[in-house]
Amino acid sequence: MTDAHTDFEPRITAFVCNWCTYTGADLAGTSRLHMASNVRIIRLPCTGRIDPLFIIKAFERGADGVIVSGCHPADCHYTSGNYHARRRFAVFHDIMEFVGVDPRRMTFSWVSASEGAKWKDVVDEAVANVRELGPYDAYRALAPDAQEPWPAATEGLAPAGEEVAS
């Protein structure tokens, strides 16, 4: 973490599939795993449903980083949705890097329904990466007059690092 960004709380949008990662994230919660609270989850039927435009839209709406996660290969509820998504995101990942988007702002992962602990790691790592990169001011500069569409990342939530009574 650089000094300049110590008081910066990243806003991260996660696009996750209903069958694996959403359930995995749920498991992380019911297991009382402690993780960064900067992520807003959007649940979709399958990673195959996630259009790269979703990611662009998240950046447009003020996200500093994005997580995309779904079932491991061979585990897709719809057999092949994640395989199709994998190709689409590979192309998108590479072309975004070509036009100057730092790939560390886009985290792709496979998290199964039993991998609550992995979800915690994915979230913590994504938050740490984006925290180090700082706010995505470069993207916001494309529309400097736009309103801040989101409340501050941690508003209304327990501050990170504070134990929640169980």
Partner: protein, 305 residues
Amino acid sequence: MTDVTTAPAYVGVEDLRRVARELLEAGDVRVVIGYEDARRGARPVFVSDPAETDKLIFDTRCVHNLVTYLNPRRDHVAELGKIGLVVKGCDVKAVAGLLREAQLSRDDVVLIGVRCGGVLEENELPAALALTPENVAPRCYGCDNREPTLTDHLVGEPQPEPPRPVMTIDERVAALDDQPLEERWAFWTDQFSKCVRCYACRQVCPLCICEQCIVEKTQPQWIEASAHPRGNFSWNITRAIHLAGRCVDCGECERFCPVGIPLSLLNRKLQHIVRDRYDYTVSDDPENAAPIGDYRLDDQQEFIK
């Protein structure tokens, strides 16, 4: 600077006219779409009268990809009846693309292939020029389809290889790749900020086939419609990735862009991505499945945690 001279007459042009005339006379096609010489240089022409086939030409000014007339969005062209289409090696890959995606029936078109040795970057010239490194369309360098196989007729003699342009598209892509991330961002956002959202790139593309483009969707609106840097970024990236593994590198989007956005660099980068990741090169074989919409169990996933 190399001497710019007039190109020698294209040897196959009489064959081209004969094939077109015979197709029209026999009633095999209702219209032949080819090139003619006009006030501002070569331009597309529709010929339906066999007596007018002498209008047809082919030379280094014939840059246009006429396959755009087969695009299902242009069903008013299909209404003319069966089409005879003059195609270069690059153009015929777009026909294969339409066939691959079931947007065209092979019986709907007769392909008159012309052996092409490259075209000029600038087509609005009174006479065809011989190609030099300065005037050749950069995409012609390294052309891999100089003997098209999908065509019904193939006219002209084997042509010399197109000259190497002063700077190839691959070299320009590599130069961008070598720049730091921030400079690439500055370069592309600056380029995209010029976009006036005329959608000429989409209109001219033979493979932009959606009946309703995502950019015109308003509920919800995925891509901001006004010519504004943020929406422009979204639009240009979306246009590019929708052509990933499909683009045939005919260069029409960049040629038609009124503000000169170097779209061919984006397109070429995507070609590199699908080549490096999926060993895929776009060809004129319609049986060769495109990489997006296909998958392998062991696809690379080094970017996925």
